[in-house]
């Protein structure tokens, strides 16, 4: 763990134990997060990116269980530490925002109550100080009339406004790390741009580290410093964002970029990846991507590829490079 590393994840595995067998949602993810950087976890639905970040704060509910791995933060292993210790960190040093702001708020409490609740749990008791800080945060999120919003109920706010109130809530205890799980998926493009702008400013101004989960490579290019591509619960490529976009190594990453309507000139056919993502209850043997890969070799069907270092900032898990 180097000085600039703030969070380190090693060999994280989270399985869901169902009647039909173990669903290997996360099956060996490693990454480290540096101070002040934005790391994007990229992948399609069901690849395990959300379960990965939920596992970091031990928020996975039964029948899910973290079966192996370590998450190091500040000399504490978040996977194995006591619930009490974790509670101090969760929502405090490491905060999280979700995709659906509507369901992240309690509908019968005001926005203010909910922001205050988090601060009170993490040690602030002076009611007036709590309120002042909360309103200050709402203002920082470019929310008009923050005093009125403080006393509003969630249903009285628009989707974009709720999303911003949720970001304000997550910042109430000055977190060192903010985990954002697809915070812009459910909102419109113009609101999406506002939220990305807010997160970008926060990162710069507060020197906060950001883990950003998304399926949208446009967002990755926009806000990310480094990106990890996840497929079938495994990390398959990790690099700086410019390397991922301009020089992708893994055939899946290449395919993902090629199939964006963005990357083609108009009216020509889009490249596409044949087939569909694997079912995590029945992952293919060897490389999880081999049934859809155009460059599949014999070894891919049997052996899980190991991490290969391409450059100082770029690693790929693929037999083409091994």
């Amino acid at each position: 763990m180097t000085d600039s590393t703030i969070l380190e994840v090693q060999d994280l595995k989270t399985y869901f134990f169902t009647r039909r067998g173990a669903v290997k949602a996360v099956d060996g993810i490693d990454f480290s997060l540096k101070k002040g950087e934005c790391l994007c976890l990229v992948g399609e639905s069901g690849c395990g990116k959300s379960v990965t970040v939920l596992s970091l704060l031990r928020l996975v509910a039964a029948p899910g269980r973290i079966v192996s791995g370590q998450v190091h933060y500040n000399n504490v292993d978040l996977v194995h530490c006591s619930e009490e210790k974790l509670r101090g960190i969760r929502g405090g040093d490491i905060a999280m925002i979700f995709q659906d702001a509507q369901s992240a708020f309690n509908p019968v409490l005001t926005i203010g109550d909910q922001i205050a609740e988090q601060m009170t749990i993490h040690g602030s008791i002076d009611r007036q100080a709590v309120k002042n800080k909360g309103i200050e945060l709402l203002k920082e999120m470019n929310i008009p009339e923050p005093d009125r919003v403080w006393d509003s109920f969630p249903h009285q706010l628009s989707g974009g406004m709720k999303q911003r109130a949720m970001i304000a809530m997550s910042l109430s205890c000055d977190p060192k790390i903010l985990i954002a799980d697809e915070p812009t998926t459910a909102v419109d493009v113009t609101i999406k741009a506002q939220i990305l702008d807010i997160l970008h400013t926060l990162k710069e101004k507060r020197g906060m580290s950001l883990i950003f989960v998304t399926h949208d490579l446009g967002i990755v290019a926009d806000i990310g410093d480094r990106a990890q591509v996840i497929y079938g619960g495994k990390s398959i490529e990790m690099a700086s964002v410019s390397e991922i976009i301009n020089n992708p190594g893994h055939p899946y990453t290449k395919g993902l970029i090629a199939c964006l309507p963005d990357s083609s000139t108009d009216s020509e056919r889009l490249a596409s990846i044949p087939g569909t993502a694997p079912n995590p209850i029945d992952l293919p043997e060897g490389c999880p991507f081999h049934p859809r890969c155009a460059q599949v070799m014999d070894i891919c069907r049997h052996v899980v590829p190991k991490q290969t270092i391409i450059s100082e900032t770029h690693t790929v898990n693929c037999h083409l490079f091994g």
């Binding site: 399609e44 639905s45 008009p144 628009s158 989707g159 974009g160 406004m161 419109d188 493009v189 113009t190 609101i191 999406k192 741009a193 506002q194 990305l196 702008d197 970008h200 399926h215 949208d216 490579l217 446009g218 967002i219 990755v220 290019a221 926009d222 806000i223 976009i245 395919g255 993902l256 970029i257 199939c259 964006l260 309507p261 963005d262 990357s263 083609s264 108009d266 009216s267 056919r269 889009l270 490249a271 596409s272 990846i273 044949p274 569909t276 993502a277």
Partner: protein
């Protein structure tokens, strides 16, 4: 507006208002003007892309065209025939010509019907052919949308999202329509699957020469698919015209902001045009130009007078006081 193709569908001053009532007497207190005075045409084998944020009236507009909703006023002319007030019987015949592909393939398929039966249903309703002929047509349709025939006896829950959307497309194609309204057909799908479905829709359009009204909120998808583009804001079309022209040179400040808001792998975000605030409620839209509350180039006249759609260049109309 578009001289190259003959017109298949023409919408004139279409309005769709939803009354809002209050109190025990259900007193009418206002209208939600979901579609407010919209006019455009779609040519033969043309793809018109319709873009806008949620609540701008895209879906109300497409449903009104199909007569799934009764338009409040205006006319809808399909193939030279006024269909705005068509009766039930004629409407049924009309539906063979116009079909819709929905956003959520999960919700649009009957979970207790096999894929084969679901596709055949469209043929049965329109009493097309004998049993064996239908069988054959289903096989043909499944091949056309890239579904293996073994899925015929499968149920929707056994299929992936992309495959279900293929079934939705096959159902729409079953009656040989001339116009397909695609209401956000790929927004529920993953990127790698989205590309497959977009290619399929494009192939079908080229093979069969069908016209599409392609509704989406994703500007890069519209850019890829459409020939012409219409941009909607709060029930009104603010800009419409040739795709190349609009993307190369957006005129309306809203179109400009929309284009700059889309995160792209080609450009970094810094210096992007940010819109203030949210879309206002369509129950009580701002006076004058509806966009003036969020516009970065707002002038005094904008809050007073409503701008009209003007043709500034051949096949490129914009409704904005900046261009008078």
């Amino acid at each position: 507006m578009n001289s190259m193709r003959s017109t298949l569908l023409s919408i004139n001053n279409l309005k769709k208002y939803y009354p809002v009532t209050a109190g025990i007497m259900q007193r009418r207190i206002g209208d939600v003007k979901a579609v407010d005075d919209v006019s455009f045409t779609i040519g033969d084998s043309e793809i018109l892309g319709l873009v806008g944020e949620s609540g701008c009236g895209k879906s109300s507009l497409s449903r009104s065209i199909l007569r799934l909703e009764e338009p409040t006023s205006g006319t809808i002319i399909f193939d030279g025939r006024d269909i705005t007030f068509l009766g039930k019987k004629d409407l049924r015949a009309l539906r063979k010509e116009m079909q819709i592909v929905f956003q959520d393939p999960d919700a649009s398929l009957d979970p207790r019907m096999t894929i084969g039966d679901s596709i055949a249903e469209a043929l049965i309703i329109n009493s097309k052919g004998t049993d064996t002929e239908r069988e054959q047509r289903v096989t043909e349709l499944m091949a056309q949308v890239g579904l293996e025939t073994r899925y015929r006896s499968h149920f929707p829950h056994e299929l992936s999202g992309g495959q279900k959307q293929r079934v939705g497309i096959a159902r729409a194609l079953a009656v040989n329509p001339r116009l397909i309204i695609a209401d956000e057909p790929v927004s529920a799908l993953d990127v790698s699957i989205q590309a497959q479905i977009l290619n399929l829709l494009q192939d079908i359009q080229k093979q069969l020469g069908i016209s599409y009204l392609f509704v989406a909120h994703d500007l890069s998808v519209i850019k890829h698919m459409a020939h012409r583009v219409a941009v909607m804001y709060l029930g009104k079309i603010v800009e419409i015209g040739d795709k190349r022209d609009i993307y190369a040179n957006p005129l309306h400040p809203y179109t400009e902001a929309l284009m700059s808001a889309v995160p792209s792998i080609k450009s970094k975000a810094q210096g992007r045009l940010l819109l203030r605030g949210d879309v206002p409620s369509p129950l009580n839209p701002p006076s004058g130009c509806r966009f003036h509350t969020r516009c970065h180039r707002v002038m005094p006249i904008c809050s007073k007078e409503e701008p009209q759609l003007n043709e500034l260049r051949p096949d490129h109309c914009v409704s904005c006081h900046l261009y008078r």
